[in-house]
């Protein structure tokens, strides 16, 4: 187990390293970062000074060493806007809003996904199964931002029930409903399919038949025995999806003016605040890598076969 853990951690570190390499390369191959950072009317001499201050007059390999050095110290540079806060602090301010949104979206997709998945698996090819299939196909095909726009159109414009923009701090939980549904909608399909196929697999097993034969009510067999045993792959999918939601929230946060990191990314890009852009991208990659490692470790802990094979 220790060996396996060490191996996964190394792999995770390698992934993060590739991310840093990609970001470094991006900011360099596309020209001089100063040209992105500096306002267009900045005099030439100031640019030269900036270049020196950022170490951009040195050869590329030295720049790369410097870049890594500051990363290890947790120094992601300074934001250009406001009072030149450290980019890391600017990011951390926005993290809670994104976490609220992604958690709510995940919850929505899990509840709907498990419900619909178990019901479809209980009676394959029934009307419920078919309805579930239609929902899955529709869910995979509708772009997140269109779902958001439709929700606003119906619940804000026509019914006037829900606010269309916000953040929990400003609007409370009511403002969370539509962003969470629009972000979670995409995952309902994948969660449902996964739950359905895992439960179907489990339903074939002898202990399920046994539980059934010894007279347990079908409801109990399905929701307790079958669902519990189908939980491992399903739970893995939830965790992995959560990590990707954090980065996928860009569009949803833009539509609903949600003050999270996705919105921060778009704002920073428009303001050419590349220190913050880089920090946000790192953070999202970190979340994905860390969650993936945790999932793998948990999986290995639950199922010894993986430790040996991995």
């Amino acid at each position: 187990m220790k060996l396996y853990m060490a191996k996964r951690l190394c792999e995770g570190a390698a992934t993060i390293w590739i991310v840093t390499l990609v970001v470094f390369a991006l900011l360099r191959i596309t020209g001089n970062p100063v040209d992105f950072l500096a306002p267009p009317d900045m005099p030439w001499t100031d640019r030269a000074y900036l270049r020196e201050a950022y170490g951009l007059d040195k050869p590329v390999w030295q720049q790369y060493l410097l870049f890594n050095k500051s990363l290890i110290r947790g120094d992601f540079g300074k934001s250009l806007r406001g009072n030149q806060d450290a980019a890391l602090n600017v990011l951390l301010e926005r993290v809670p809003a994104t976490m609220q949104l992604t958690a709510a979206a995940l919850l929505f997709s899990i509840v709907l996904g498990i419900g619909a998945g178990v019901v479809s698996a209980a009676r394959p090819n029934s009307i419920y199964d078919r309805i579930g299939k239609v929902i899955a196909i529709a869910g995979q095909s509708m772009p997140v931002f269109w779902v958001g726009l439709l929700l606003i159109l119906v619940f804000t414009v026509y019914l006037g029930w829900l606010p269309s923009a916000g953040g929990v701090d400003r609007l409370g939980l009511l403002g969370l409903i539509m962003p969470a549904i629009s972000l979670g909608w995409l995952l309902v399909a994948s969660h449902m399919r996964m739950v359905r196929s895992s439960v179907l697999d489990v339903l074939d097993a002898d202990y399920i038949k046994m539980a059934h034969v010894k007279g347990l009510p079908w409801r109990l067999v399905l929701w307790k025995h079958a669902l519990k045993n189908a939980a491992i792959p399903v739970f893995t999918l939830f965790a992995v999806n959560f990590a990707h939601l954090v980065s996928g929230a860009v569009v949803t946060e833009t539509i609903f003016a949600w003050p999270g990191i996705g919105r921060l990314l778009v704002e920073s890009i428009l303001a050419r605040d590349y220190a913050v852009v880089q920090t946000v991208v790192f953070f999202a990659a970190m979340v994905i890598v860390v969650v993936n490692i945790l999932v793998d470790l948990m999986y290995a802990w639950l199922d010894p076969r993986i430790r040996v094979a991995g």
């Binding site: 390698a14 991310v19 995979q140 833009t254």
Partner: protein, 302 residues
């Protein structure tokens, strides 16, 4: 039945050998090959491709020309069938021209992603060893990238353009092809016919091109079909954020972004382009599902 299982990468058909070449039976054979094809998907995809090819002939108005007098006109059968947007541009015409952008980007991005994925899969699966290990580690790393965030960042640096959108989507979306196809290549390289080809003195190039590649075409086709839909959504998302195809080109994503300000006055602006995107993506997905079932009956539907 005198069946032949075709390994040549075409649709695997069960047809008596003797009937090949007879015209009526060719029709029968074709009919068999297309059995169960999702009609809706087929019509949608063909329609979209036709719109893309013949946009200038089909569009009733110029998609870019503004006409403020007719701004935000509701859909009506007499003039603008699907209404006009805030600058008085005809929505139907923009939709038809938009098919050009979505189809081009969807297909070319898949082409870039597929080519890179096939290349990595073949190199990985044929050479094995440490090359394989490094390439798969890189693939895993790319899978852990926050895809949309990186796409947005890169395009903002490179400046939005059609070519950049294609390249960015393609270069961030090759991992599925690499992983799935690598498995196939590994499996194939252990088969008897590849071993016999080695014994028979085939060069590596011949083995890859004539023995391995034709056998991964089926899987590639399925992945491609599913990938076009994902590509269309990615393009629309980028355009929606203002980082896709530059304005005033009529991308469906841009149309949705512009509709945001007019939700209270013009319901057709958010509804129509979104519906078009969804239907096209759904068609591509259903087509992929059908191809998967058709080309590989052993595969269980997940």
């Amino acid at each position: 039945m005198a069946g032949t299982y075709s390994l040549s990468g075409k649709l695997a058909l069960t047809v008596p050998l003797a009937i090949r070449g007879q015209p009526t039976l060719i029709i029968q054979r074709l009919r068999q090959a297309w059995r169960g094809v999702p009609i809706f998907s087929f019509v949608m995809l063909t329609g979209a491709i036709l719109c893309a090819l013949f946009a200038p002939l089909l569009a009733p108005y110029d998609p870019i020309k503004t006409n403020p007098v007719h701004a935000l006109a509701a859909p009506s059968l007499s003039q603008h069938v699907l209404g006009t947007d805030h600058l008085g541009r005809d929505v139907l015409s923009r939709l038809i021209y938009g098919a050009r952008i979505s189809i081009t980007i969807g297909f070319l991005a898949v082409f870039v992603a597929g080519s890179l994925g096939v290349l990595i899969a073949v190199v990985s699966g044929v050479y094995k060893g440490w090359i394989d290990r490094i390439l798969m580690r890189v693939t895993d790393a790319f899978l852990a990238l926050p895809y949309l965030m990186i796409a947005v960042t890169v395009i903002s640096i490179l400046k939005p353009s059609m070519l950049n959108v294609i390249l960015v989507i393609g270069l961030l979306r090759w991992m599925d092809y690499a992983r799935v196809l690598r498995g196939e290549v590994l499996r194939l390289s252990e088969t008897d016919f590849v071993r016999l080809a080695v014994v028979a003195g085939c060069t590596q190039r011949q083995i890859i091109m004539r023995h391995i590649f034709p056998n991964i075409v089926n899987t590639l086709l399925v992945l491609t079909s599913l990938g076009v839909g994902a590509g269309v959504i990615a393009e629309a998302s980028l355009s929606f954020l203002g980082l896709g195809v530059p304005r005033p080109l009529p991308s469906w994503g841009t149309m949705l972004a512009e509709s945001q300000k007019y939700l209270y006055t013009a319901w057709w602006l958010p509804l129509i382009p979104g519906l078009t995107i969804s239907l096209l993506v759904m068609s591509s997905n259903l087509m992929g599902d059908w191809l998967r079932d058709r080309l590989d009956p052993t595969r269980r539907q997940l």
